[in-house]
Amino acid sequence: MIWIYYLPVVLSGIGGLLCLVPRTRFEEDVSIIASFAALASSILIAFLPNATSFGLYVDGFSKLMQIMISAVYVLTVIFSIHYLEHIENKLFQANLYFLLLNLFVVSMFFTVMVDNVGLLWVGVEATTVTSALLIATDNNELAVEATWRYIIIVSTGLTISLLATIFIYGGFHTLSLDALLRAPQATKIVSVGALLGIIGYGTKGGIFPMHTWLPDAHGRAPAPISAMFSAILLPVALYTIVRFVQIVPMQSVRNFAVVLGSLSVIVASLMTFSQRQYKRMFAYSSIENMGVALIGIALGGNAFIGSVIIILTHAFAKSAAFFLTGNILAAYRTNTIKDVKAVSRTMPLTGYSLFFAGLAVTGAPPFGTFFGEILIMTRMLQVYGVWFTLVIASFLVVAFVGLNYRVIRMVFSEPVEPSGKMDDNATVPIISLVIAFSMVFLTPVVYFFLKGVVVR
């Protein structure tokens, strides 16, 4: 039975390799089949017991991550097929695009199921290698520059996490997650390792000091890739941070994570205001969400469950938002917010979906992000007191206002004539949004999965 756990990696990997077969549109069919198969196997794994042997570490959190990854994978593949037609000056052919897309997913599946902190690093770095060229799909100078920044900043950050891995190994003399989580007492050297790990993997997750690649990459990548980055790549980075916090549940490490998370929230919410481009604005919203999630991870207990709810809801809502920006970019041929007007009239489905996606990613009440934030705030109130909580909450409100104000300006305003081909195809984003919305009702399921995982 153990082979079932390998299925997501194997299936998406096979799907990726089959993309190399030189037949017209073959790569699209293969990718769709592979992604659905990966989704099915992820759901199947969810019903199986946890696995901690044969190089695997699959617990409830991993299972949730796998389902999330594969679901966004399916949506992205479907949306990509349609969207690729809008890109004129492609860096490479469609089959190479799908090959890289599938391998990107393989590396993420690999990361969330592997039982070795060293291989965890290898997996995260592999996501860099596989995803870098995807950013430059739309081949222009700015996209290439953004790709370069992504490579160099993220690789540099990840060397820090490699250092962290060395420290962990120096402290425990093992790298197996299973053994590390059962290891008796965290020594001080390991706490240094955990701090470095949070900084290093935080780079990949868009956490404050090294988040600068994120708006560039999201702003210039094609819409499905931005969606994938925001929805699943950043959570995969947070997944590794969760493991580090689990291994070293010391107060100093947690405080450090809370500080970095808070700074991310503050910086991102302030930066939201100065953005002139909608994709960059949504990118800063991702930083803000990841910051909140990191705070929740560090706080542990119910706040951790809150973070996971935020991560799941955000994954679908933000991928919907980025898919929709793809539609807008294709129709209006511009990146800037002020040139996009009256989307609700020109493309009703896109416009209204974008409005709801904007609400969802900023934590408006009916959505899961709101309840996740409530859980985190409650816990924060107990641990850090009222003032700190108020500050963070007010910055969340700032981000809420900043983002939704601009989205409303884009969606409901005086009409202008779009210059590009209008294409109000919003099926995939709407499905994504519906999933994001239904995440509220799935909270008990999330709770059930995380019972054994919760960071104390």
């Binding site: 690093w121 953004a146 370069w148 920044r149 490579i151 490699l162 891995t165 790298l175």
Partner: protein, 220 residues
């Protein structure tokens, strides 16, 4: 001469070489300097493995010599444009002299934070050398605009980690192999991007309304 003092020697040779890289504006000489540094590292690993009868270290040394000292530098220099001896840093972020001094300050800073934060746990003053080298590599990335030099900075950081890992029990070989694979992958992908960056005239969209060399969008 103990292994300890050879470690110090190798570490400071690396630091001196990074300083030299900060000094050089010609990219091919930066690449060559990196290659020399990697050869020194490989020789050190081979010697340590030979003396200590550890086949693991010998394998690692061989891997370092082949990948870091030979393959990556030759790959990078092939990635430069046709007249590769002329490729150089045209607009440094800061003056050369100030970057050299700042690089030294980063090394000192690395020593200081190592002494303050990590020394108590590692119990070896020697760890300060890789930490210093690590920060210098990071500074090389910050202080240069040329993608190839930035990559070299990244590789210097990787070399620093190699040195650091030497102070600890070795990582499992599967992890090391994965790390090497990832580094190769990163370099290959970067090679493509460097090519694209260096030849903007051929692939830039003619109708692109954004003026060339203007990355204001990517600021902030």
């Amino acid at each position: 001469m103990t292994l300890n003092s050879i470690f110090v020697l190798v570490g400071f040779i690396q630091i001196a070489l990074v300083t030299f890289m900060q000094w050089q504006t010609y990219i091919s000489s930066v690449i060559k300097t990196f290659s020399i540094g990697s050869y020194v590292l490989a020789a050190f690993l081979l010697a340590a493995g030979y003396v200590g009868h550890e086949p693991y270290l010998i394998a690692l040394g061989g891997l370092t010599a082949v990948i870091r000292a030979w393959f990556i530098p030759s790959f990078l220099s092939r990635m430069l444009r046709r007249d590769r001896w002329r490729a150089r840093e045209i607009k440094p972020v800061l003056g050369i002299a100030s970057t050299i001094i700042l690089s030294l300050l980063f090394a000192v800073f690395g020593y200081v934070i190592y002494a303050w934060t990590m020394y108590d746990y590692v119990h070896s003053a020697l760890g300060a050398i890789p930490v210093a080298l690590f920060l210098q590599g990071a500074f090389l990335i910050i202080s240069r605009r040329t993608p190839t030099t930035q990559l070299i900075g990244y590789l210097v950081m990787e070399n620093a980690l190699y040195l650091f890992g030497f102070l600890f029990p070795e990582l499992p070989f599967v992890v090391e192999a994965g790390v090497v694979l990832d580094v190769i992958g990163t370099i290959m992908i970067s090679g493509v991007i460097v090519r694209l960056k260096e030849e903007p005239a051929q692939n830039a969209d003619v109708d692109d309304s954004t003026p060339r060399e203007d990355f204001t969008e990517l600021r902030g």
